[in-house]
Amino acid sequence: MKERTITFAAYLLFFAVVFALPLALNSFWTNRIAVYLVYAICAVGISLSWGYAGILSLGQGLFFGIGAYMIAMSLTLAVPDNNPVPQFMLLNMEPNALRDLCCVTPGSFLWEPFRYLSIGILAGIVVPCVIAAALGYVMFKRRTSGVYVSIITLALALIGQMLIINNQPLTGGFNGLADLAPLSVGGVEFDPYGKSVYYLVAAVLLIVVLLSRLVVSTRLGHVLKAVREDDSRVRYLGYNVESYKLFIYCLSAAVAGVAGLLFAVTSEFASPSLMSTSFSISMVIWAALGGRGSLLGACVGALIVNFIGSVASENAALQPVWPIVLGLMFVLVVLVMPEGIAGIAKSWVAKPRQPRSLKEVTQ
C-alpha cells in the first residue's frame, strides 16, 4: 500500500511539473521541452516492450518515422503553395506529366488520401501497428527472441530508411518533408513554439502513460511479466506466449507512431534520419537510463538525457564528448544499475523488509 502511494505521488509530481513548466519557459524552450516530451512517449513504448515483456526492439525509429511521415504528408498538402502537388514533386516530375496528385510522379497517387488530416493521423498509428503485427507474427511464431529480435527490427528500420531515401519523387528523399503547415484541428491552430503544442504533447503523454499503466496492471500485464522472466515456462501453463508478445510489440509500435505524429507537429519536419540506427538506439538508452521497468522512469530518462544533450551541444568543448559520455553512461547503467534512475529512486524509498517471525524464515 505504501509503495503504491509513493508511486502515485511520483506520477503526480512529474505531471505537475510537466504541466507547470511552460509558465517559466520562453518560446524556444517551450518547443524544445515539447520535443523531449515526444521522446518521453517513445521511451514509454520502449519500456512497454522491453521493460515489461523483454522484447528489445532496436527499430522503434521505423514506427516513429512512419508516424511522423504520415502526418507530415497531410500537413505538407495543407500548405496552400503545395496545392495541388507538393513543391518537391514538381522538381522530380517528368517534363510533360500532369500536375495532379494522381500522376505527377510515379506513386504520387498514394498521397491522395492524405488530403484529409484525419487519415494522416490515423495512418500514423495504424500503419506502425500493422507493420509490427506482420513482423512480430513472423518473428514470434518462429520463436525468435533476445538479440535476434533486436537485429531483425534494426534491419527493418534500415530498410525503411533506404526506401524513403531512394524514392525521392514520392517521399522527398533525403531532404524529407520540411515545408509543413501548422497543425490545425477544428479551427484551433497549434503553434509549435507556443503553449498549445506543448500542452497537446503533454496531454498525449499523460494519456499514453495512464493507458500503459492500465494495461500493465491487468492480468495481461501480469502474464507479460512472467513471459519476461521465463517465456517457455509460461507456455507450459497454457498461454500462447506468441500472442502476448505480438500484442505488446504492436502496442509499443503504436505508441512510437503517436510520438512520431507529435514530433512532426512539434518540429515541423519528417526526415529519414528519424529511422536511423543511432536514433533508435538513443531511444533505448533513454529508457535504460530512466529505468526500463518503470514507465515514469523511462519518461524521466528521455527528458534528462535530451536536456543534458541539448545543453552540451551548445558548448563547443562538450559537444564532441557528449555522445561518448552518453555511451559510457549506457554501459554503466547496464552493468551497475539495470533498473536505472527509477531503480535508484525505489531503493531509496523502500526499506528492506524484515521477516515477520522466525517461523516465516524456517517455513
Binding site: V215, S217, T218, R219, L220, H222, V223, K225, A226, E229, D230, S232, R233, V234, R235, Y236, L237, G238, Y239, N240, V241, S243, Y244, F247, K359, E360, Q363
Partner: protein, 265 residues
C-alpha cells in the same frame, strides 16, 4: 528411517480408467532412439513412478508428454484426445501439468502472483487485457498453497524462498492448473531430508485425487511413495510392477548391475 507411514492403498482405489496413454512413442536424435517404442498407460488416481539410470530416457519421455519435444513416431493420448503435436500451450490447456527438475517459477513475482498466473484458465490475450488481478487468493489458490505449506508466504517474492519452497511453489502452480495428469521431474531433487519427507507426504496426499507421474532415481524415496514402478532402460520400458517385483526382476538387476541406483535402496 522416516516418520511417514507408508500406508497401503489397495489397487481397488486406483481406477482403471486410463488418463494418459502413449502409443509406440519414439523419438530419435540423429538416428539415436532416446525414447524407443514406449507404450505407457497411467490410470486415474494413480501415482506412477518412472525410474531408470541417467540417459535412460525418463526426462525425454516427459518432454514428449508435455510437448517440449516432438515425437519421431507414435502418439500421446490424454483420455480420448490425441494431443500429439498440438503445441505446449494447447497440451497444458488440455490438462497436462508439468513441474521441471530445477524449480521454474517467476522469481521477481510474489508467491501469490505466481499462483495466479498458473491458475488462470482464461489464457487469451484479450480475456486478460480486460480483467484485473484479484488482490486475494481464490479458493483453489488458497487450497494448493495450504497443501504445499506456502500459505504464510503468499506475499513474499519467490526469490526470497528456500530451494524446497521453490519446488513446492512450482508443484502448487501445477496443481492450481487443475490438470488431468501431473508430471513431476525429480520433485525432491536438492531437498533436505525433512523437505523430502514433506514432499513424499504431499505426493501420497495427492494420489487418489490426482493422477501423478513422477520421475525419480532415489530408490528410497520411490519405495515410500508408490505402488507401481515403471523401469526405463535405453529408451524403452524394461519392466513394470511393484517395488518388490522390480527388485526381484532379473532383467532389471542385470541392467543395473554395478549401478548404485538399486543397491542403495
Amino acid at each position: 528411517m522416516n516418520a511417514i507411514p507408508n500406508t497401503f492403498r489397495s489397487d481397488m482405489n486406483l481406477g482403471t480408467e486410463p488418463v494418459l496413454r502413449t502409443k509406440d512413442l519414439t523419438v530419435k536424435f540423429d538416428g539415436f532412439a532416446a525414447v524407443n517404442n514406449v507404450n505407457l498407460t497411467v490410470s486415474r488416481g494413480e501415482l506412477r513412478v518412472i525410474i531408470g539410470a541417467n540417459g535412460a530416457g525418463k526426462s525425454t519421455l516427459l518432454d514428449l508428454l508435455c510437448g517440449k519435444t516432438l515425437p519421431t513416431e507414435g502418439e500421446v493420448w490424454l483420455r480420448d484426445r490425441n494431443i500429439t503435436g498440438i503445441g505446449e500451450a494447447a497440451i497444458a490447456r488440455s490438462g497436462v501439468g508439468r513441474k521441471f527438475q530445477t524449480p521454474s517459477v517467476f522469481k521477481e513475482m510474489t508467491v501469490l502472483e505466481n499462483l495466479q498466473v498458473a491458475s488462470n484458465r482464461r489464457t487469451g490475450v484479450f480475456a486478460n487485457l480486460f480483467s484485473w488481478r484479484p488482490p486475494r487468493p481464490t479458493e483453489v489458490e488458497a487450497e494448493v498453497a495450504s497443501r504445499t505449506g506456502l500459505s504464510g508466504v503468499l506475499n513474499r517474492r519467490a526469490s526470497e524462498l528456500s530451494h524446497g519452497q521453490l519446488q513446492w511453489l512450482e508443484l502448487a502452480m501445477v496443481l492450481s492448473q487443475d490438470p488431468q495428469i501431473v508430471l513431476l521431474d525429480e520433485p525432491a531433487a536438492g531437498m533436505t531430508a525433512a523437505e523430502t519427507d514433506k514432499t513424499a507426504q504431499l505426493l501420497l496426499d495427492l494420489a487418489g485425487s490426482h493422477t501423478v507421474l513422477v520421475i525419480e532415481h532415489d530408490m528410497a524415496f520411490v519405495k515410500r511413495i508408490c505402488r507401481k514402478i515403471t523401469v526405463m532402460h535405453q529408451g524403452a520400458i524394461l519392466a513394470e510392477g511393484t517395488a518388490s517385483e522390480i527388485e526381484r526382476n532379473q532383467a532389471v538387476v542385470e541392467a543395473y548391475l554395478g549401478s548404485a541406483t538399486l543397491s542403495h535402496a
